[in-house]
């Protein structure tokens, strides 16, 4: 009978704390949002299930958590399987692999056909640096503030990469905030876009982009990589993989590799990354006042980044003969392709015949480059 009592004391039911129960509910909410509302299901579903897995309580002598990586001693049996998967997050392996896949599926044609739209991708990065200041004002140190600020880049892999380099102890909340807000782009952006533009501006139609030659598409990733990484070497890993993936796609001679990078490989890495990030949200590490501050700063950074892009597009219109629809400035946050889709949706609410998606993809992919450069700059400046 004593053995049965001893066993019951090791069950999750016995050891469950309120924090674990709350996190499990959050995990279920994520899964529900993914299935019922179709909010970034490829991310929210693995993260949601990971949250549930990471919050099942167990006795300390069992190595099960992502944090049981053998660093406390205890030999091979103290290393959990989940910690091995989490190593891809902790050591920044998964984000560059995701960038390789993104590069292999990205068509830079619209950006190449209208180079001035690249600037909108830079303008939206104002969210990163204002959030950096906000985090400092709330009492975080410089490295932590840099890692929090990059949430404003609206790029999950970049946020994880920089957090793993600068503030590993905040990796869980930063990753969850970045991916949650990416999923909430259709909710966060439209009110800001409408608030900052007039109906007349939202009705602006843009000229169809010119046809881009194959040669331009092949040369672009090589030269753009050189420009960005010679300016900000910290962006080397992310942008190296992004442009390498794009060259695989555009060269026309490595279609098999490009196909693998944009399908099987990115899917596998997304599954492992989402699940591992979710599993790292153990209540005892995650439910802290700092996490709530990070979530608040993340929401503010998305709003500021969106506003920055829209306002910069309006500023550009003061000098341009051919006006651009300022809504596409909101796509400067690099949540690809969701923010471009949001631009299309908001534009069509005013004029169903206005197709902005193609134009919005230009600042959208420029935003990916911009946020990686911003991460590189923060890493270079803040790393000891």
């Amino acid at each position: 009978m004593q053995i049965l009592y001893d066993f019951l004391e090791t069950t999750g039911f016995y050891m469950m704390e309120r924090g674990n129960a709350a996190m499990i509910i959050i995990g279920i909410v994520f899964i529900t949002l993914a299935i019922m509302k179709d909010y970034e299901p490829l991310l929210l579903l693995p993260i949601g299930f990971g949250i549930i897995v990471g919050n099942i309580p167990f006795i300390q002598s069992m190595a099960l958590s992502v944090y049981d990586d053998g660093s406390q001693g205890g030999g091979p049996m103290s290393v959990s399987v989940l910690s091995m998967i989490y190593a891809g997050v902790k050591y920044g392996l998964f984000p560059p692999l995701i960038f390789l896949g993104i590069g292999a599926m990205t068509d830079f044609s619209t950006m190449l056909s209208n180079p001035k739209l690249v600037l909108l991708g830079a303008a939206a990065q104002i969210g990163v640096f204002l959030t950096f200041l906000g985090a400092l004002a709330l009492g975080f140190d410089a490295k932590q503030s840099g890692a929090i600020g990059i949430i404003g880049g609206a790029d999950g892999p970049t946020a994880i990469f920089l957090a793993s380099r600068l503030a590993e102890n905040l990796l869980g909340p930063i990753a969850i905030a970045a991916y949650s807000y990416m999923a909430l782009v259709p909710v966060i952006q439209p009110p800001i876009m409408k608030l900052l533009t007039t109906r007349k501006e939202r009705l602006i139609r843009m000229k169809a982009p010119r046809t881009v030659s194959k040669r331009e598409k092949i040369i672009f990733p090589i030269v753009a990589f050189l420009i960005c990484t010679l300016i900000a070497p910290g962006a080397l890993v992310l942008l190296g993989m992004l442009f390498f993936g794009n060259l695989l796609k555009e060269s026309g001679v490595t279609e098999r590799l490009a196909q693998t990078a944009r399908t099987g490989m990115i899917d596998i890495v997304t599954i492992l990354l989402g699940f591992a990030v979710g599993a790292s949200t153990k209540a005892q590490y995650f439910l802290r006042a700092e996490s709530m501050m990070i979530f608040a700063l993340g929401a503010a950074s998305f709003a500021v980044a969106t506003a920055g892009g829209v306002l910069f597009a309006k500023l550009m219109n003061l000098f341009l003969k051919e006006k651009i629809n300022p809504l596409i400035g909101a796509a400067g946050v690099s949540a690809v392709p969701d923010s471009a889709r949001v631009v299309q949706m908001v534009g069509q609410q005013e004029d169903p015949q206005n197709f902005l998606l193609m134009h919005a993809m230009a600042p959208n992919v420029a935003g990916v480059i911009g946020s990686a450069v911003a991460a590189g700059v923060l890493w270079s400046v803040l790393a000891e």
């Binding site: 180079p115 640096f129 950096f132 009492g139 140190d141 030659s213 300016i231 450069v373």
Partner: protein
């Protein structure tokens, strides 16, 4: 505890050179993307100047994608065989 320092607000921003880092950071991001924008804008002109030196694009692509050419060729062979068989059946009748 995450917070290892006692400063908050503007004092923490100035202690960590926050404003300088932010201005430098956004300037570098703009510089990188402006350079990319200028490069993209000049690329068609540069390629036009080099047109006489570079091999024709269509030939280059055909050379790098032999599979596509072979596919067209195979289709023509299949069509020819089909036509020959059809003609033979007609003559037998």
């Amino acid at each position: 505890m995450i917070f290892a320092q006692q400063y908050y607000g503007f004092q923490n921003i100035t202690e960590n050179e926050g404003i300088g880092i932010s201005i430098t950071g956004i300037s570098i991001v703009f510089a990188a993307l402006i350079l990319i924008s200028l490069f993209i804008a000049s690329l068609p002109r540069v390629l036009a100047l080099l047109e006489s030196v570079l091999p024709p694009e269509a030939e280059h692509l055909a050379a790098t994608a032999p599979g596509a050419k072979r596919k067209d060729h195979d289709e023509a062979v299949v069509a020819a065989i089909g036509f020959a068989l059809h003609a033979r059946h007609r003559t037998k009748k």
